[in-house]
């Protein structure tokens, strides 16, 4: 019985894998042809080496056709050296140098596993455990405004640099940096008086992967899990435990004045995050506590909670809450008493539901109060004690009438207690994408707005066109606006024209230019925007 099993096993694997070839010439079949290489499948490549020549039988003669560049156990790829056209399924012949019989003991693993498939690849790239990835961009922007009004014309330049260098030199060390520099033409003195009025560093941090689950960063960094606190200069540690991650951070808030380093603004905190992601669903939550100080005294203490999920099919939910735990109470500047509190400073709720393939409904609530930093603002606390919540509601419905035709309605309501009256708006649009024959997209829109001091009606049309396989995009727009001032019973009519061009000059370089002209009865306003961006 054992003999039978032994024989069967030999037969099975012999058939599935490499046969033992004893002839000098080995035939292979072309399996794939690319612009650079031709791939040839053999029963085995034993005896074939990199640099060998493969031949093609032409008019009864072996003609050199291919130089082998890469090799696996059953296939090879190479560069064409023949003028003859080589097609898929053509037969190429290798002349063996050695034909070494395989030992039955060296039966390879099953081919059906991905491990084996990878081994069968022509080139097996063995990536290091940590692989360096460097990407980023540098860009230059200009914002120019010209008008015939008494307001001065101005041009503002802005340069940004972004770098995300992961695992530098395949090490555990990473660097991230994002900063911008902005100044007005003709106002360099402002830059010279304080460079940090122009230079804003949003992140400049070193990150070190202690192990697969632990990461430390030092420097200025915005933690995506608690981005609400903004950038922090200091130490951040995060430990991942499967779906759970725990983080702690301690350092300094950037200066309130110019976003530079400020040693007085020490802060510390911790967060707990949970993330569950599958192909169909995901759920993420994070909970953070922060204590922010100024010169050793509590400036602000708050909790932050964020949750998002797509646990129900076609439904996406996002929520974020910020609760302040500390306040000063008193009636004079010098007579404040610290108190614990539980004051909702910010709440954001968003829901998006795809009711059907055609109809998507979404809505959001955004309630925010201005944050009070009791120590930092103590001297003029009375001025900023307006802590009424600004509430904003948005509802939107998008209906896909056909593949290319979409209609949408959106309404918004915003109110702050000190506003003379709420701001209400209704916006509707109709978009036809890719009009046949024109490759043009058109959007018609209308808006009605009631705000504290003006009511307005806006009608607009926008045309978009892509050229050269989307390497060049152009848009042209027009809007008619009628502002009515209820207090004075007067109005202002504006005609607005817009043009923009976006050019992908190369895979890494893009350029865009935009113009917006607003024409009133007497006043004319022009705005130009330019951007040049180079990615690396």
């Amino acid at each position: 019985m054992k003999k039978i099993i032994f024989i069967i096993s030999i037969v099975v694997f012999s058939v599935r894998l490499n046969g033992q070839i004893s002839t000098e010439n080995v035939k292979g079949k072309v399996s794939f042809v690319s612009s650079q290489n031709i791939y040839v499948k053999f029963l085995t490549t034993n005896g074939i080496s990199t640099g060998d020549t493969l031949y093609i039988l032409s008019k009864g003669k072996l003609v050199p056709a291919l130089i082998v560049n890469n090799l696996s156990s059953v296939s090879c790829s190479g560069t064409v050296i023949s003028s003859l056209e080589i097609l898929v399924d053509d037969q190429l012949i290798a002349v063996r140098k050695n034909s070494v019989p395989k030992s039955v003991d060296k039966i390879p693993e099953t081919k059906n596993s991905y491990t084996e498939i990878l081994k069968d690849s022509v080139t097996i790239v063995k990536k290091p455990a940590l692989s360096q990835q460097i990407r980023g961009y540098i860009s230059a922007y200009s914002y120019s405004g010209f008008s015939n009004t008494p307001a001065p014309n101005s041009t503002q330049l802005r340069y940004t640099f972004s770098l995300d260098a992961k695992n530098i030199g395949n090490s555990k060390l990473s660097v991230e940096n994002y900063m911008s520099f902005r100044h007005k033409i003709g106002d360099w003195s402002a830059v010279k008086s304080n460079i940090f009025d122009a230079l804003k560093i949003y992140s400049l941090a070193l990150k070190y992967d202690v192990n697969k689950s632990t990461q430390i960063s030092i420097g200025r960094r915005i933690n995506p899990k608690i981005s609400t606190i903004g950038a922090m200069d200091g130490l951040q540690v995060e430990k991942s435990l499967n779906k759970l991650s725990i983080g702690a951070l301690a350092g300094y808030r950037p200066s309130f004045a110019d976003y530079s380093f400020d040693r007085h603004l020490f802060q510390y905190g911790a967060y707990l995050a949970y993330s569950s992601v599958t192909a169909e669903k995901y759920s993420e939550s994070s909970f953070a506590f922060m204590e922010q100080m100024n010169s050793g005294k509590t400036d602000r203490r708050f909790l932050y909670f964020q949750h998002s999920n797509s646990m129900i099919k076609n439904l996406y939910f996002y929520s974020a809450f910020e609760v302040d735990l500390y306040k000063l109470k008193g009636d004079t500047v010098t007579n404040y008493l610290a108190q614990n509190t539980f004051n909702l400073t910010g709440a954001f709720l968003s829901l998006r539901y795809k009711l059907s393939k055609k109809l998507t409904l979404s809505g959001s609530y955004d309630g925010r109060k201005n944050v009070i930093y009791y120590e930092s603002f103590k001297t003029y606390l009375d001025l900023i004690l307006e802590t009424a919540m600004r509430s904003s509601f948005r509802l939107q419905a998008d209906y896909r009438i056909s593949n290319n035709l979409v209609f949408g309605l959106q309404t918004g309501y915003r109110f702050l207690k000190t506003d003379p009256r709420p701001s209400k708006n209704l916006y509707g649009y109709l978009t036809y994408s890719q009009i046949p024959g024109l490759n043009l997209s058109v959007t018609l829109s209308g808006t009605y707005l009631e705000s504290s001091y003006v009511n307005s009606k806006i009608l607009g049309a926008t045309f978009n066109h892509d050229f050269f396989s989307n390497k060049l995009s152009a848009s042209l727009g027009y809007r008619y606006l009628d502002y009515k001032y209820p207090e004075s019973l007067s109005n202002t009519v504006q005609n607005v024209g817009e043009m923009s061009l976006f050019m992908q000059l190369s895979r890494k370089i893009s350029f865009s230019i935009s113009y917006e002209g607003t024409f009133e009865k007497q006043n004319k306003y022009n705005r130009f925007y330019l951007q040049l961006r180079k990615r690396f």
């Binding site: 922007y141 600004r390 701001s423 705000s451 307005s456 895979r507 990615r535």
Partner: protein, 475 residues
């Protein structure tokens, strides 16, 4: 060796029956060759043909150029999260919500729709706000956090308010509602941009200094009453001299804002100065400088006229003292329309002299009986002579008020003398002369003019006819 072979066989069978574990997760339906080639499992850009536009997120702008791994950190592509902030750190510190596409496009972070964005916000950008830098209103140390900003002017312009010295806004207690004085569409705080709507600075007030009216910085308590500022002008006025007894100190009663106090027109709409009132001296009505409580009743000024009137004597006649009952403001008190409904003044009475009827100025007990006025007519009438014929003195028995006493219908003839409006003679005559040929004496009559053939041989007299036929019928 046999045992080893057996193990290898069993292991081989086990693995050969295993379902392949795709690194892209279960139910991954995209063909391998869409991304891979026989070169290996690395993405082959030469053969890559996946159309990302078939997914929920078509790739446009910069998204077309980035590597897959930037959005798909694992090989389970469907696990990529849908929100911008899942890939892009929110440098706005959650102050702008989730929807980056409201400001940014996949092509660029450049925000080119600032004006359009504000058109659905609490503060559309109008006037000077349209040319302002974002950070002038959205103040933050990093330029990217957009805190809640109030939409009241003072929320941004408090510094302007505090710094203003002409006039000093805080000291003067000027309202923080800037729109009361400054237009939102303007580019400057003064000149055309200044709005003095509560007291329009036009005409004579167009070029005055603030301090002319707002003495000692009284910007909130400055009176809008003319006299407050123009008392000296009132006192100094010479033509005419504005003595309080004559002229009100409500300047606007007579003057406009036109410089030089001219034209001066009395605003007398409550008592229109027309016709007979068009050129009075103010004091004719406004006695003792009473411009506030001068009555508008005619009699209060025209009592003397009422009393002095003799034709008719209003007092004796007991006329009401509501002059407007009979008179208009036409000078001379004429025409005077009297309400004579109890004795309509029509036809023959249409244009009488009052005294014709109201003898001796008797306007209270004048008889409405015709004869009381027309006795003379009665007595003097000769054709026929009413007195002789003993006609009724009730004139309306035969006459209307049509002038000339005609037509006259004497129906009493039937009862008094002989039936001619009834009986056999009805309709047989057209005028009196047919029976009364002697119009000097209607007592005489002729029957035989018509009845000559009757009793011809007896030669009866007219009286004999009447004696036998007093009703005009056969014997």
């Amino acid at each position: 060796m046999r045992i080893l072979s057996l193990l290898i066989f069993i292991t081989g069978l086990f693995f050969s029956n295993q379902k392949t574990d795709s690194p892209h997760g279960p139910d991954f339906k995209i063909s391998c060759k869409t991304c891979h080639s026989p070169k290996g499992w690395q993405l082959d850009k030469e053969t890559y043909s996946f159309n990302h536009n078939t997914t929920k997120l078509p790739l446009t702008g910069q998204h077309k150029e980035v590597s897959c791994r930037q959005c798909h950190p694992t090989l389970i592509f469907t696990g990529a999260k849908p929100n911008c902030i899942d890939c892009h750190t929110d440098i706005h510190q959650a102050t702008l919500g989730l929807d980056c596409s409201r400001c940014h496009t996949p092509a660029t972070w450049l925000v080119t729709n600032v004006i359009e964005l504000h058109q659905t916000s609490r503060f559309p950008l109008i006037g000077a706000h349209r040319t302002a830098d974002c950070i002038q209103c959205h103040k933050s140390e990093n330029f990217t956090r957009l805190d809640v900003t109030g939409v009241n002017c003072i929320d941004c312009h408090r510094a302007n308010y505090l710094a203003t010295t002409n006039p000093n806004h805080p000291q003067s207690g000027i309202s923080e509602d800037c729109l009361l004085c400054h237009a939102i569409t303007s580019f400057q705080w003064t000149g055309a941009g200044f709005n003095h709507a509560t007291f329009p600075l036009v005409q004579g007030h167009a070029a005055v200094k603030c301090s002319d009216c707002h003495a000692q910085g009284t910007f909130t308590t400055a009176s809008t009453v003319c006299y407050t500022c123009h008392q000296q002008d009132y006192i100094a006025a010479k033509n005419p001299v504005h003595t309080p007894a004559v002229y009100s100190n409500n300047c606007q009663d007579c003057h406009t804002l036109s410089p030089g106090w001219k034209p001066a027109a009395i605003n007398h709409t409550a008592f229109p100065l027309t016709l007979g009132h068009s050129l009075p001296a103010c004091t004719d009505c406004h006695k003792d400088g009473n411009y506030a409580a001068t009555p508008t009743v005619c009699y209060s000024c025209h009592q003397t006229n009422y009393t002095a009137t003799t034709n008719p004597n209003h007092i004796i006649s007991g006329f009401p003292n509501t002059c407007a009952t009979c008179h208009t403001t036409t000078p001379g008190w004429k025409p005077a329309v009297f309400n004579h409904t109890n004795f309509p003044l029509t036809l023959g009475h249409a244009t009488p002299v009052c005294a014709d009827c109201h003898i001796g100025g008797n306007y209270t007990s004048t008889s409405t009986v015709c004869y009381s006025c027309h006795a003379t007519d009665y007595n003097n009438t000769t054709n026929p002579k009413h007195s002789t014929l003993a006609f009724s003195t009730t004139c309306t028995t035969c006459h209307t008020t049509v002038p000339g006493w005609k037509p006259a219908t004497y129906t009493q003839h039937d009862a008094q003398f002989f039936p001619i409006y009834s009986g056999r003679h009805k309709g047989q005559w057209t005028n009196c002369k047919e029976c009364h040929p002697n119009t000097a004496n209607y007592l005489l009559y002729e029957c035989k003019i018509c009845h000559s053939s009757v009793h011809r041989s007896n030669n009866y007299t007219n009286a004999q006819c009447y004696n036998c036929h007093p009703r005009g019928t056969g014997g």
